[in-house]
Amino acid sequence: MSPLDRIANVSILKQHEVDKLYKVESKPAVSSSEQLCFLVRPRIKNMRYIANLVNADKLAGRTRKYKVIFSPQKFYACEMVLEEEGIYGDVSCDEWAFSLLPLDVDLLSMELPEFFRDYFLEGDQRWINTVAQALHLLSTLYGPFPNCYGIGRCAKMSYELWRKLEDEEDGETKGRRPEIGHIFLLDRDMDFVTALCSQVVYEGLVDDTFRIKCGSVDFGPEVTSSDKSLKVLLNAEDKVFNEIRNEHFSNVFGFLSQKARNLQAQYDRRRGMDIKQMKNFVSQELKGLKQEHRLLSLHIGACESIMKKKTKQDFQELIKTEHALLEGFNIRESTSYIEEHIDRQVSPIESLRLMCLLSITENGLIPKDYRSLKTQYLQSYGPEHLLTFSNLRRAGLLTEQAPGDTLTAVESKVSKLVTDKAAGKITDAFSSLAKRSNFRAISKKLNLIPRVDGEYDLKVPRDMAYVFSGAYVPLSCRIIEQVLERRSWQGLDEVVRLLNCSELAFTDMTKEDKASSESLRLILVVFLGGCTFSEISALRFLGREKGYRFIFLTTAVTNSARLMEAMSEVKA
């Protein structure tokens, strides 16, 4: 529904004689219209919904016209089900090849959140063609891409299928000047860690707190300071938002307060005005000022709401634990924190997220912890989450270390000699050294944890780590930075090996020669499986630093909560 909203909202549809809009859910739509049109994603459960409706009509002796519009395309499995249900001949089918929604001046979304679960959990490659088509569309619009890089199995497959498409429809891009110099394809599972971290840049925080959908967010009464909710479009058009979106949250409130003071000063100017000036003021400036005022108060309200929620959740403590996990210190303390989090039934999604973060940074939980945390989770949040754990294990998000990895033999000898507390610390030391902890190794190789002397200045950030308060440079962004610098994967073999996947790099010099220097600085980054606002902010920063301009194409905007929900077998 939401992508449709961005193109044709309810009033426009009504202008075109649409009588009523229903959501395709479990309850059938009761309508007296003679024509029903279904705009659906090509999923089997949607086919069943439609079939139920049509067959119910048939049973009641009612004949109507039915049209099914599949977006972005129809799948053969859907056709099969329509045939099976006996309604293939009763409905007419169309496709709406709508695959790219511009959410902002530098952000394109395919609005396919299901991509993550379909591919990374079920191994279903159904959307790879959709991605290839999107890339093909972009290359017909903006010319061929002289430089292509990628990392991950899905990236490789998408690239190969895209090339097949290009070869088949040869000639459409030939000879065109490239307008985008580089394209970078990334699989989400190259970097789960970044996606699982709490976000602290403004846009990320708004997404984590309020859920941004399709570029707009619903601000409730506590934000709007009225009794109504407001749906707000968040993009570069909102001048206030645009200035604070990439900022670390600690800067935002101060910035907004300053702006409010400036605004007040502007308003106050009218005191010393004569009639002519006042008239000018009202006709030229007042509207803009009022607009700015409205936006300011909204964002200040949002900030207050965020701060209240975070205080309640004891955000400080949470961030401290996350940073400890990222750095690899105090693992036992962090594990206890997670255990308590689960015991207190704080939030099923948050508890899961923390467990996954622990698992990925430590290359799996030690079997004792895995068993005990799992038991506690099931006791706190419901036994049916057994299925969720199975999903997480399959996706590699929450795993148990293989028996050979643990150091129980050593541990038990040592712990006989020392007290419990000290043994915990020794386990810590051993764990950081001896484990095959790929994240730690990668982190070291790529300097993801900045060494800081003194305070990390969040007001004037010096590297991409600012998006996580200076504690951690997002892995995905670092990879992009390094590959772009080297124009290849040279020198990154070890990293690629540790990432356990394949990389791709392809440069077409003939195309590169045709590209202007400006287009060579334009980079399209394609996230397969979703990307977070933190990564977008970090790359925007990188762009400013190095003189690049990034354009983001993602299968969907995501965050840690969405990732966890996608893996949850039980609908919360």
């Binding site: 999923r43 089997i44 459960k45 395309q73 129809k74 799948f75 053969y76 499995a77 099969m80 089900v81 089918c93 169309d94 496709e95 379909d118 079920e122 191994g123 279903d124 490659q125 159904r126 959307w127 790879i128 063609n129 497959m157 998408s158 190969e160 299928l161 097949k164 088949e168 308590e340 015991d343 207190r344 039934q345 068993r371 799992k374 038991t375 506690q376 099931l378 006791q379 706190s380 949040y381 419901g382 036994p383 049916e384 057994l386 299925l387 199975s390 077998e569 039980v570």
Partner: protein, 444 residues
């Protein structure tokens, strides 16, 4: 050849002579119509000859009784104009490309290419196993999951499940697609057969267990869970499944009983705090909380007593104390809270201990608006001095702050705190008394 120009024109432009034109207006559609007509009408002629398969000749060798052969232009053009047209109406929205091809001779790679474009494609001609597998291989190398699934749908229909399973066992990508497909269409039976064949016993068990989510009725769900108990889960998971069954079994009993009690209206706790929701299908900890709230004093023998729950499900002390505390604090039953932490040591002296850290106790008490005296008592028990001071200050437990500052011999902090207490209060007096005491050797 001495035809005049005019004759020639007439020759070529006459409808009888359907010459080939490069006319741009002839789009593929009408070309198709024409050729279709032609093909169909030819068939009429050709088929009719079946009767005359045997050439009848006279003794002289002359063919006898044959109709005009369909060779002359005349009859052909007649046919073209006379035969009723079989027209194929274009369907809006279908790509034009579809009409050009209605042939059945596509190779596996061409077929797969067509499938990727969403074109109509009959796979029926891939009858041999070898052909089928080649088709599958092409689909997999195309990477498009929609195409792979389309081929699998065909294979599922035209191969026995044993053969299908055997072939997919060594083709991981295709196998994944089949599994996902079966899940989505809800073919549970085939899915379980597949897992059994692959000897993926755990997935088999989980898949079966997953079905319980579709059963709403508690009794039926309980019965279903019972059938899950013997399944080949891992050792830990088997225990979890058993617990799930036991929990639901208990919840059904408790729910029935409590609903009855509530309706009867005689039990105080239900009157004062009517239940907001049913306990069915709630997690264990929530059930424990409920039990500590409504059935705290019950003996171990009953299903609804907290102690029984603790024993049956082996709930660790930490969790138990935390939950009981939350429940009793909500009811403002401070004596119960007290009893939770009081233990008698071997000498008979009472002592307060907590498996969860007293700072947590204080937080929970505060969340439930415990009176300051109660809070104070527990703040005092916090071991870590800094935490104690922080909490005491946060929750305005003046005495604790004062005493702690005195113990730390921290005069500055005590002075600072003095400004925070009410003027003329007992606390202020106390602070003053301490500040003036000559017995304390202040460090600052």
């Amino acid at each position: 050849m001495n035809r005049t120009k005019g004759d020639e024109e007439e020759y070529w432009n006459s409808s009888k002579f359907k010459a080939f034109t490069f006319d741009d207006e002839d789009d593929e559609l009408s070309q198709l119509k024409e050729s279709k007509r032609a093909v169909n009408s030819l068939r009429d002629f050709v088929d009719d000859d079946d009767d005359d398969d045997l050439e009848r000749v006279s003794w002289g060798g002359e063919p006898v009784g044959r109709r005009t052969r369909p060779g002359s232009f005349q009859s052909l053009s007649d046919a073209l104009s006379d035969t009723p047209a079989k027209s194929y109406a274009p369907e809006l929205g279908r790509p034009k490309g579809e009409y050009r091809d209605y042939s059945n001779d596509w190779s596996p790679s061409d077929t797969v290419r067509r499938l990727r474009k969403g074109k109509v494609c009959s796979l029926e001609r891939f009858r041999s196993l070898q052909d089928k597998l080649q088709l599958l291989e092409e689909a997999v190398s195309m990477h498009d999951g929609n195409v792979i699934t389309a081929v699998l749908i065909f294979l599922k229909r035209t191969l026995s499940k044993e053969i299908l399973f055997r072939e997919l066992e060594v083709r991981q990508v295709a196998l994944r697609h089949l599994i996902h497909f079966l899940k989505e269409i809800g073919d549970q039976k085939l899915l379980l057969d597949l897992f059994r064949f692959l000897d993926r016993t755990e997935e088999l068990a989980l898949s079966h267990y997953r079905e319980h989510l579709n059963i709403q009725d508690p009794e039926k769900r309980k019965e279903f869970l019972k059938t899950c108990i013997g399944l080949p889960f891992s050792a830990e998971d088997s225990a979890h499944i058993q617990d799930h069954y036991t929990l639901l079994e208990r919840q059904i009993i408790i729910e029935a009983n409590d609903r009855h009690l509530e309706a009867a209206g005689q039990t105080e706790i239900f009157r004062k705090h009517p239940r907001k929701a049913s306990i069915l299908n709630m997690p264990l900890v929530t059930t424990l909380f409920y039990s500590c709230f409504y059935h705290y004093t019950e003996a171990e023998g009953t299903f609804s007593s907290p102690v029984n729950l603790k024993k049956t499900f082996k709930i660790p002390d930490k969790q138990y104390v935390l939950t009981a505390l939350a429940a009793r604090a909500k009811l403002r039953a401070w004596h119960d809270v007290d009893a939770l932490f009081t233990t008698k040591n071997w000498l008979g002296y009472t002592k307060k201990r907590a498996p969860i850290g007293f700072h947590r106790v204080v937080e929970i008490l505060h969340k439930n608006s415990a009176p300051v005296q109660i809070l104070q008592e527990y703040v005092n028990l916090v071991e870590d001095v800094d935490t104690k001071l922080n909490l005491a200050t946060k929750f305005k437990c003046h005495d604790v702050v004062i005493d702690t500052c005195r113990d730390l011999k921290d005069r500055q902090q005590l002075l600072a705190y003095r400004s925070k207490v009410d003027k003329g209060s007992a606390e202020e007096e106390k602070i003053d008394a301490i500040l003036h005491s000559s017995q304390i050797r202040w460090k600052n």
